[in-house]
């Protein structure tokens, strides 16, 4: 086992003539709270898509827990512990939160192809689903169809689904984006309470959250790493101020 939970080596992604990811080397430590910031178009989401396997990399390697996962399909990476949430909620609208989480837990534990016994037959898996509902403040709405849930609850479910996959590395893509002020605290608490053994990569525009949450920050600009450091170093880096904080954090 290496000391890093996730590494990228010289990762490159080109779309035609555009280089969206430009020789990115990331080292995410075990249990890290690592933030990835940068102005719009810096290539943050492309990087996530490369790491999760939604997009194939043009060049470079991705190493999860010491294993090269560059050639694996998205669902295979999930099984190895690389899990993400989405900036725009990606939920199962016709299912209830309870059904969703029971299904995800069952799938993750390798029983997703069972076809004879009903979902919920296994007490252990239902219990895990209940725990997650509790942890993400969804117990009171667990029987409602997901499409009818309030936005804050949907945001929580978005994260609960990812946690149900028992991630080792969790990629959070703007977890509080668009959440109204009243529902924000609930969400921030759950983010802060994520298990410490899970390594987290956070993409976020909300600087309060980034500087409260992260122990390391990488700044991306035009697809390349501009700099990396502790929140303090980043906060006082004149380069960062110039390209990022100065331009879009008004």
């Amino acid at each position: 086992m290496t000391e890093y939970a996730l590494q990228t080596h010289d990762l490159v992604k080109r779309f035609g003539g555009i280089t969206a990811t430009d020789h990115v080397n990331l080292n995410i430590a075990h249990g890290a709270r690592h933030a990835l910031i940068g102005p719009n178009g810096a290539g943050k989401t492309t990087l996530i898509n490369l790491m999760t396997g939604v997009l194939p990399a043009t060049q470079g390697r991705i190493v999860l827990q010491g294993q090269d996962i560059s050639a694996l399909a998205p669902h295979q990476r999930v099984r190895r512990g690389m899990v993400r949430t989405f900036q725009i909620n990606q939920l199962f609208n016709s299912l209830t939160p309870l059904e969703t989480l029971a299904m995800v837990v069952t799938q993750h534990r390798g029983e997703g192809a069972r076809w004879w016994q009903p979902l919920g037959q296994s007490a252990a898996m239902t219990e895990r689903a209940e725990q997650l509902l509790e942890q993400f403040h969804l117990t009171d709405v667990m029987q409602q169809r997901t499409e009818h849930l309030a936005y804050g609850k949907r945001r929580l479910l978005e994260m609960a689904i990812a946690l149900a996959c028992e991630p080792r590395v969790l990629l959070l893509d703007e977890p509080v984006a668009g959440v109204p002020a009243g529902e924000r605290d609930e969400l921030l608490q759950t983010v802060a309470a994520l298990p410490s053994e899970v390594s987290i990569v956070l993409i976020e525009h909300d600087m309060d959250l980034v500087f409260n949450f992260a122990d390391r920050i990488t700044v991306l600009v035009n697809g390349a790493v501009l700099t990396e450091g502790t929140p303090q170093e980043i906060a006082h880096d004149p380069q960062v101020k110039a390209v990022y904080l100065g331009s879009s954090h008004d």
Partner: protein
């Protein structure tokens, strides 16, 4: 264990369901003069349940589901004619052959969009139709495969002209496959299928092997459709090219639209509604019955099923959800 109970609740049989099945099985005896149409309804209902697995539960559109119906029909008819007249053996052959065809065809629908799938499935059915037409030595070509003589069911019950034995036979097969489909959609497998239907991107992101799940359900559905085809050939005593026709594929989609997708009884309700409408309207105006079916379909989609069966909501302004 509130959550536990609530999950299992969904899979439990409701009294109304049991009542429905009892009624279905009593019907060939209670209204014996309609046994033939009951048989027909049971067969198309089975076909519709099969399509619902693919379309309703997994979100895969198909305009060529008749490929499997026809394949099962010809397989069962040929088996009865040339090898053995036993209906149950023939049914098994129809199911197995259609399942194999489904497994092969599933490769063609794993990727792509709704439109490409419509084209690919439609194309598959057309290919089979033309093959059956071409190899007329085997299939009888445009004349259909005639002279299919079935042996007695279980060695005891001869198929009668009234169609009672046929009706019970078809209802039993429908029930068996229905139970199978019902188990499947309430099981974790069904949950992951719904996940694929609702949000394929996220299904992938939680580790569901999307392509292989689609292949599995498509193969199973093909087998079920093959069973319906076998029943059709066996109870009518022949197979003709129209089992592969686009009309078949379109009609079954129409039935699902009528009864509701993603709800196994939707296929059955749709089949009953469709066949009864056909029977009644064709009795009044034999030539123009499709006009009325078409009109009904347009109204159904514009107004929405939920509203249509609740006339008291027609003049209130609040919109209801759950349209087709």
């Amino acid at each position: 264990m509130n959550a536990h109970k609530s999950l299992l609740q969904a899979a439990r049989w409701r009294p109304l369901e049991l009542a429905f099945w009892v009624l279905a099985f009593v019907s060939p005896w209670a209204v014996a003069q309609h046994a033939l149409i009951i048989n027909e309804i049971a067969i198309v209902a089975l076909f519709a349940v099969s399509l619902d697995l693919v379309l309703g539960y997994t979100g895969i559109v198909s305009l060529g589901h008749a490929a499997f119906l026809g394949f099962g029909a010809y397989a069962a008819a040929l088996f009865a004619k040339h090898i053995h007249p036993d209906p149950l053996l023939g049914l098994c052959v129809g199911v197995v052959v259609a399942t194999l065809l489904g497994a092969v065809c599933s490769l063609s629908i794993m990727r792509g969009t709704d439109l490409t799938r419509l084209m690919v499935t439609l194309g598959t059915a057309l290919i089979l139709l033309e093959l059956a037409n071409k190899y007329s030595d085997l299939t009888g070509g445009a004349d259909g495969l005639q002279g299919v003589i079935m042996g007695p069911l279980l060695g005891k019950f001869e198929f009668d002209l009234m169609g009672q034995v046929s009706a019970w036979y078809s209802l039993t097969v429908l029930l068996l496959f229905f139970v199978l489909a019902r188990r499947l959609v309430h099981a974790p497998l069904g949950g992951t299928l719904k996940a694929v239907r609702d949000n394929r991107l996220r299904a992938m992101a939680i580790g569901v092997p999307v392509a292989s799940r689609i292949a599995v359900v498509y193969t199973v559905a093909a087998g079920v459709a093959g069973g319906a085809g076998a029943l059709m050939a066996q109870t009518t005593g022949f197979a003709s090219l129209d089992v592969f026709a686009l009309d078949r594929s379109a009609d079954v989609m129409l039935m699902l639209a009528m009864g509701g997708v993603g709800w196994l009884y939707g296929g059955i309700v749709g089949a009953i509604a469709f066949k009864l409408m056909y029977d009644v309207i064709a009795g009044i105006t034999p030539q123009y019955w499709t006009f009325w079916i078409g009109l009904f379909l347009v109204v159904l989609v514009m107004v929405g099923r939920e509203r249509l069966i609740r006339p008291w909501t027609w003049f209130s302004t609040k919109r209801q959800e759950g349209a087709v």
